[in-house]
Symmetry: C2
Subunit: 319 residues, 2 copies
DNA sequence: TTGTAAGCGTTATCAG
DNA sequence: CTGATAACGCTTACAA
């Protein structure tokens, strides 16, 4: 594995001149620069990350730490983050589980974006207090160098519910995500708040887990009931899709026999029939704005407003 | 940000003693070790990754480089890799695009797992030749330190086709993935080979892109034809699901009016109706075996057999 | 314009 | 058992 020393030797210059030349320092003669660069090319030289990071006290890496790989929402956010970071010559490092904490602790990254309810507040605050900027998505956490980025879950659900109530629907049920999940809690809060404003009470609440299969199970349990709700508000699109699947499989129709609403606007919801009525979040855009904010912070700028995504009500066929 | 120097000072020992103590070197008195560890804890000290990586010439990071974030297949593989790496105290770093190449070139990782047709052979061979172990999934590339891990796409498709032909089906079409994709090519090859063995010719080939939407479009174009195939073999499950969706939406039934077969066995295929007939790959297991092989290689062991996943024919309702 | 040398935070060799 | 000290590969004052 060649080092800058090898390059310098081959180009017949000192190590420092080689470094200057490679970093395009204007004080080095074009001729020597060329000689050095040629040497680097023939040796297939590339600077050693650890050495440079150590010296420069920065890595140009941004870590994105998620609870689990996969899922349409994550992938859009990640893609947005990736694009923006790449445009600004930062590397994206996605990780999960114990690796996340290691990378954070060992400072192999210049900043962290957290989408993981399993990393404790204490750890996050600990490393943020050391000066590492930490963005936290869809979770509230205050402190220096901590930047929460929140969807207006509650407000968006209320708006959607108002529209549905306006359409004349009255008997609502809620298909819940994991009880512990912050975004689920806020969506449920909005659901209840909207009902209360119209002096309505929820027909029932079904416990779920944000997955298609979970939604499917909820659908099966509804089928067993004698007294169906009119509308099921699902905590996310995946559950809504599973629920519709179960209902249709037994010969019932959506929205004729049951109305279903989701949250997120994932691509699959565009393809199924009926098209899913949902609250659309532009996840890729969200990712981009977070990445841009992160780059600003790392560059020493102050953040005026914390980036938060807009949502849009998408009334389609399923409700 | 505290360094080992600060710890040493607080514990009233030299830097080297501090290092020994923190790394549990047996030559240091239990009493001093405790003093050092306490100091580290009160300072919230953690070794700086770059410094350690530079000194040790290893990072305990394994890079997984993928073409794009997302998709049910990737997420299962990644989860498998993550688990195994974590059990062996390695970090998983997932990246995509330019970041992948940077992390590779700067040697911020001890080994790379590639699932990305966009990183050129030359780059891969270049860094492998420097001694970095590189695993390549579902793509052929020979060379030192290069370890291809291949699904038996062709053989599995042939087996599946034999079963279908045995069932009496004769008029087959192929819904293709991206032309450039290696796995698509091999699956198509198997498809054609099986037909040839039975002196059959394909009814048609539909160009696709591995997405649900792509499969849906293919479905629409089939609906426009007067002369339908009997069975459509789809290059992956997502296309099969989109195709079924399109067919059903217009009032036709699967498998009554058209039989559909996929490849991969993604969870969504279990939930739709009819359940998808497909070739099941255990992606999580594949990920685990690759990670285990990687750890062995990094640890200096020789690899006897390159890890390759088994497949299983899953005859269900859609064909 | 180029070279010498210090230093980033670790680990590990070698004396004491 | 503990402490100086060199070294990892790189960047960057400062000197020449």
């Amino acid at each position: 594995m060649p080092t800058i020393k090898d390059v310098a030797k081959l180009a017949q210059v000192s190590i420092s001149t080689a470094s200057y030349a490679l970093n395009n320092n204007p004080h080095v003669l074009p001729e020597t620069r060329k000689r050095v660069k040629d040497a680097a090319k023939t040796l297939n030289y590339y600077p050693h990350g650890a050495a440079r990071n150590l010296k420069m006290k920065k890595s140009k890496n941004v870590g994105v730490f998620i609870y689990a790989f996969g899922g349409p929402v994550f992938s859009d956010i990640l893609e947005g983050i990736r694009q923006t970071l790449q445009e600004h010559d930062f590397n994206i490092i996605v990780s999960s589980g114990k690796s996340s904490e290691n990378l954070l602790k060992e400072r192999q990254i210049d900043g962290a974006i957290i989408f993981d309810n399993y990393i404790s507040d204490t750890i996050l605050q600990g490393y943020a207090s050391h000066g590492m900027p930490v963005f936290i998505l869809d979770r509230i956490l205050q402190g220096e160098h901590l930047y929460p980025s929140l969807i207006d879950n509650e407000g968006l659900v209320i708006t959607m519910m108002e529209r549905l109530i306006q359409k004349g629907y009255r008997r609502f049920a809620y298909a819940s995500g994991p009880q512990a999940a912050f975004n689920n809690k806020m969506r449920q809060k909005g659901f209840l708040e909207a009902l209360q404003r119209h002096h309505l009470t929820p027909v029932s609440t079904y416990p779920g887990d944000f997955t298609i299969r979970g939604g499917y199970e909820i659908g099966l349990s509804i089928l067993k009931q004698t007294d169906w709700p009119e509308v099921v508000f699902c905590a996310n699109d995946e559950m809504a899709i599973g629920l519709i699947q179960a209902i249709q499989e037994k010969g019932y129709r959506v929205p004729r026999d049951l109305k279903v609403v989701g949250f997120d606007h994932i691509p699959l919801g565009d393809v199924i029939s009926p098209k899913l009525t949902t609250i659309a979040i532009d996840h890729a855009l969200w990712g981009r704005s977070i990445a841009r904010a992160m780059i600003d912070i790392i560059g020493g700028k102050k953040l005026k407003v914390s980036p938060s995504p807009q949502g849009k009500i998408l009334m389609r066929e399923s409700a």
